[in-house]
Symmetry: C2
Subunit: 349 residues, 2 copies
DNA sequence: ATTAGCACTCAATTCTACCGAGTGCCAACG
DNA sequence: CGTTGGCACTCGGTAGAATTGAGTGCTAAT
């Protein structure tokens, strides 16, 4: 036995049809009952036309190969992360209910306002569609070029530097001067800043005048404040919708706390989403993303692409036993609508 | 008995010294044990120099008057909202531990960046200090005057209207035109907008030119987009820190869900805080704020006043059995530092 | 008015028994 | 030989019953 096994299935990457069917039945049922599932319920479920005994022997094989686990002897089986992975990899893509399709259509037809508002509201939409917590990440504008720079004087010592980027984002920075900046200085400085910076990106270093008059100093300070915005912290924006779903969907206060505490750290969320995208995944299950506190979570991501360029992503965070088909469908549809919304704006009203 | 009572304490607004002491002991102990407290532990606690039996008879009185309640016969007493109210009203003000004082001082000494960033980080600070969820509300800029208006052309049809207010806030609005707006139109329109709007507030209606050329149309559209920002939604900003504390501090998943779900609706949070401030309260306990899902919560608010004008507020949200003294102290200290930070900026750096 | 004493209440805990879903193994069967 | 029915076994969960003990309310004595 042992010898034969070692030869025919050293690390079987794929499963024969029956094992696959059984695994699918276990996953499906566990997803909507949240209970370990036993051989008889699998055997009686459609698709499987064998006796419980046979199912059992297949199950021990699936367990040996790491797709299933037993919470304790004499309990049913529960899928492992690997089991979910197989399930997700062989998932036929789902569609939204027509009510949901309507909801999405209506939403994007009526949504108004600035990019940020749209993204924020989209996160709520996605969360409502799935009853999981939704994440919407806006693209970094670190590659956008500067369209306009303006210094506005708040008072003698405080200037406000307002920068407009080609992607429509606006940044503001306070500039403190050590001298009294009369209003003439400021508009002159604005002019010079525009001349220096328009068309550049934030990564672009520019040559600043080294003169020592007030205007030149103000210009220098402004440029350095603007370029100082380097810490990884900025550029991306995150919007989280439906964080209260965390409390509905996970059991165990401790888990809820951990997950919420992750969600609070927006930087972390951005890199989580980014990591998963970089790995080319659309789903990360349990241990697959390396975030220990999220071991019992699955994360779905769908990139948003506008004109061929990455423009952000939408994500969903739920328990590993989440409704993958529906959630993937929702994330996909929403990301597409979002892409169309931003890409197709020219053709619209 | 009944007759005498009706005469001497129709609705006793105040309590005699011993009742007060007992009430305080009950509240204090219940706050840090989360358990109903019995007569003997009260009697043995310092301050109270009577036997358990006496305490018991006082307790029935306190219960009759609505300060205490019994979860069930033969359990200890638990404070009611009214009991907490009395406790809070007679609270001697607390101080922060010196470690905490340091933390606050260090924070405000080193905090950098734009107002929004400071407020955001302050919410985290306050949450860390208290281990409750913190709320920081930034002042509405609806009364600020406009310092500068600028139209920036994104492409032929999309203009971006960037408005700078006297409080240092910046607003952006997209303006869509039905015609091709050459760059000359745009800078001329900017000039006209500046002439029209500088020095006005958003409440101020202005006379717009009724000509029919492209520039006039663009100006009209811009003004209307700007003034359309009326829905209550805007102006205030809310920052919520430590929402994961909700899961630590409340018991019962359902409560956690309710509270989180309230926190998601930022508008609701703003009006909650505003309501409490309007009532002139600094603490709202249980039923005192009218928000049914927050029945088991207490909310602490402290206004932030800069140069005599309201500039926002900081708040804390915890269970009714929260550590009022410490939380009030923290909220107070932070709100003062915040006020000083924004008020005293001229003298700094 | 205060208090010690006492009977009483009732949630929480512990213990026991037991039920039953589910397993692993084996012998029989087509 | 893979499949299946049969069967003994395991063990978490539940339901009762018994017990505990913290806490009360009342009463009579100080």
């Amino acid at each position: 036995m042992t010898r034969r096994d070692a030869k025919t299935k050293p690390t079987a990457r794929t499963l024969d049809a029956r094992k696959a069917t059984i695994l699918e039945a276990v996953v499906t049922e566990h997803i909507d009952t949240a209970q370990p599932v036993g051989s008889s319920s699998v055997a009686h479920s459609a698709e499987v036309a064998v006796s419980p005994a046979t199912v059992r022997s297949e199950m021990v094989a699936l367990e040996r190969e790491g797709y299933l686990a037993q919470p304790h002897t004499s309990a049913g089986r529960v899928p492992t992360d690997k089991g979910y992975r197989y399930f997700v990899d062989h998932l036929t893509s789902g569609v939204l209910s027509s009510a949901q399709q309507h909801q999405v259509k209506d939403f994007f037809a009526s949504v108004r306002g600035e990019v940020e508002d749209v993204l924020e509201q989209t996160s709520t939409l996605l969360s409502q569609l799935t009853s999981y917590t939704a994440v919407v990440v806006g693209a970094s504008h670190s590659h956008a070029t500067i369209l306009s720079v303006q210094l506005v004087s708040l008072d003698a010592r405080h200037q406000l530097l307002v920068t407009v980027f080609s992607d429509g984002s606006v940044a503001k920075h306070s500039v403190l001067t050590s001298f009294d900046a009369g209003s003439i200085d400021v508009s002159e400085a604005s002019r010079q800043l525009n001349a220096l910076l328009i068309g550049t990106t934030l990564e672009h270093r520019v040559q600043v005048p080294s003169r020592h008059d007030n205007v030149a100093t103000l210009v220098r300070e402004s440029v350095s404040v603007l370029h100082a915005e380097r810490p990884v912290t900025d550029g991306e924006q995150v919007f989280i919708g439906g964080s209260s779903k965390v409390a509905e969907v996970f059991d165990g206060v401790e888990t809820v706390r951990k997950v919420l505490s992750i969600l609070e750290q927006e930087l972390l969320v951005v890199s989580l989403v980014q990591d998963i995208l970089d790995q080319g995944l659309s789903v990360a299950i349990g241990s697959e993303h390396g975030y220990e506190p999220l071991l019992s979570c699955a994360v779905i991501v769908a990139p948003v692409t506008v004109d061929g360029a990455p423009a952000g992503a939408v994500g969903l965070l739920g328990p590993t036993r989440m409704k993958y088909r529906e959630a993937l469908a929702a994330a996909g549809v929403v990301s597409q609508h979002l892409a169309r919304h931003f890409g197709g704006e020219e053709e619209r009203g």
